[in-house]
Symmetry: C2
């Protein structure tokens, strides 16, 4: 029920994902049954008719309440226990599902994930990991919005979360971790970043030092490629949204220049981070994938694929282990 284009984008995205995934995977669509069933019928009778053979892999799970985009997270968690958000996450703690994907209210998804799935032992805060397209391989940026004021300890834990994510979901071995700052020298940055820099040097990670804003689109710093970039959720969110706003701006510039629109849109599609799937809320026990409210069916499909990768690689277990090692 969540997201600006629900239920169309979520139901269509689920169908697309089933078409791509191994037949062992099934999807539970959680929300108002009548609405979901009607949407599913319409899609399978029209645009998505080719995916009819996958209909039996979908279960519809009723959830009468809907958390609105404007609901306050804590109030939504307390006041709407029968929302698709709460029921969908509870299915994971009950063992009837393995992962949760939503394009709904991000704050509510964070709060509900923390309440229902709980955090890994020793972890202070969860973090949202986002994939940034780059000139080289995509880069994982975290936190991209879960926490506004972070301590140095929390940034180090984000590095551990991000390393596991890069290994499991992006298949990077010994991922290179950069700390986002305003200069590559250890003494550059704000107080928290300078402290985190010191802590990261003995955190048992492949820490490559500070990276700068320009290294993000480049996918590398002077010392080589970067897989993961660590920052607090304020900076991460500002940069992420800035990036989102840049592609439409550039398309506008190119249009004015009179080039063929279709070719350019294709070239710039790589800039669309939704192509890379949803952003997992890392640190909760389980899988909770946060999709953009403006997700298209394709973006939802990609979010489901990320969820499946997280399950298959046992990312959640790896995070638990990594955090224990980090604390030991």
């Amino acid at each position: 029920m969540g997201g600006d284009f629900a239920p169309h984008a979520t139901v269509a995205g689920a169908l697309l994902a089933l078409g791509e995934l191994d037949s062992a995977h099934t999807i539970q669509l959680v929300g108002r049954t009548a609405i979901i069933a009607a949407k599913l019928d319409t899609l399978l009778a029209t645009e998505y008719a080719a995916l009819k053979p996958h209909r039996h892999r979908i279960d519809i799970v009723d959830a009468p309440d809907v958390i609105e985009m404007t609901d306050k997270p804590a109030a939504a968690v307390r006041g709407k226990p029968n929302s698709s958000m709460m029921i969908g996450l509870k299915m994971q703690s009950d063992g009837t599902s393995d992962a949760f994907v939503s394009a709904g209210n991000t704050g509510a998804q964070m709060a509900a994930s923390m309440v229902i799935l709980r955090l890994h032992a020793g972890l202070k805060r969860p973090a949202i990991a986002t994939i940034f397209p780059s000139a080289r391989k995509p880069v994982v940026v975290l936190d991209s919005g879960a926490n506004v004021d972070c301590s140095a300890d929390e940034l180090v834990q984000f590095a551990q979360l991000g390393a596991v994510y890069a290994e499991d979901i992006l298949g990077r071995s010994n991922p290179a971790i950069g700390l986002l700052s305003i200069g590559e020298e250890a003494e550059k940055g704000n107080a928290v970043v300078k402290e985190a820099h010191q802590l990261l040097q003995s955190a048992g990670l492949n820490f490559v030092g500070n990276v700068e804003g320009r290294d993000l689109p480049n996918g590398a710093c002077d010392r080589g490629p970067i897989d993961v970039v660590i920052c607090d959720g304020f900076v991460g969110n500002v940069v992420l949204k800035f990036y989102e706003g840049t592609a439409p701006f550039i398309i506008g510039l190119l249009k004015q220049s009179g080039l063929d629109e279709k070719t350019m849109l294709n070239a710039l599609k790589q800039l669309d981070y939704s192509e890379h799937g949803g952003a997992p809320l890392l640190g909760v026990n389980g899988v909770s994938i946060i999709s953009h409210g403006k997700s298209s069916p394709r973006a939802i499909m990609n979010a489901v694929r990320v969820a499946v990768q997280a399950i298959e690689t046992r990312m959640d277990e790896h995070i638990g282990r990594r955090l224990q090692e980090g604390a030991a």
Copy 2:
């Protein structure tokens, strides 16, 4: 002597600026006399021969010391009193020059500007203002790197500095000021931003509330166009450098797509913030323009134009007055 392409870019930029500016303006080139004179002769004998009639508007002022990009700011200020940075700024406090432009060591320029020009009365910190191209009019972003940890009071002062800059240099009347945050609601943001939001509501400015990362390339938020965006220097620097890195990345994407390179480069030139001139260090008594180390002659020329505009609009005086009013 400063910048990655000095003295070529600085001397050539000065010539280009003289070609564009009113004939009343003159330029003092401060640095090692022999090097500057030789460069000037070469340029006027070749590529810039058309600008020979402006030669008499250039004075060369000898400064034997050179501050390197790797020098620590405080040490450079103390240890190299005869550097082009120190001598160039002192000419302003002596009344023999009206503005200072440099593409050298930014930290040293900040430190030297604060020591020699001093801050306006009541001001806690200076800020670097950068112009971001946008889908609408360019947007002033400050602080873009002078201060890593800022208090709410400091952010409010940056808003005052930015308002004057937008009025005097960009010709905006009653400039719309946005506070960079992670949501438009007043309660969104980190602790400092939330406090600054409250203070800005009664600061006597045209404060339009919080703006998000995506509003920057857009040049507007939901409530209308934005002229000035306020943030601390950590966030501002990260976003600025991110923006710098995005254009080459996008050009790469478009090249891969096989479009005509020249047309695209022209379209994307608007993304090159150096086209918009140097970034003034706002808050010092006087005019100190910080150019990018990688400045081209064109970027230096634009920085000189910004300096002249600052002088002609009496921006510095306006800032002093605005700060007094803000304190009253």
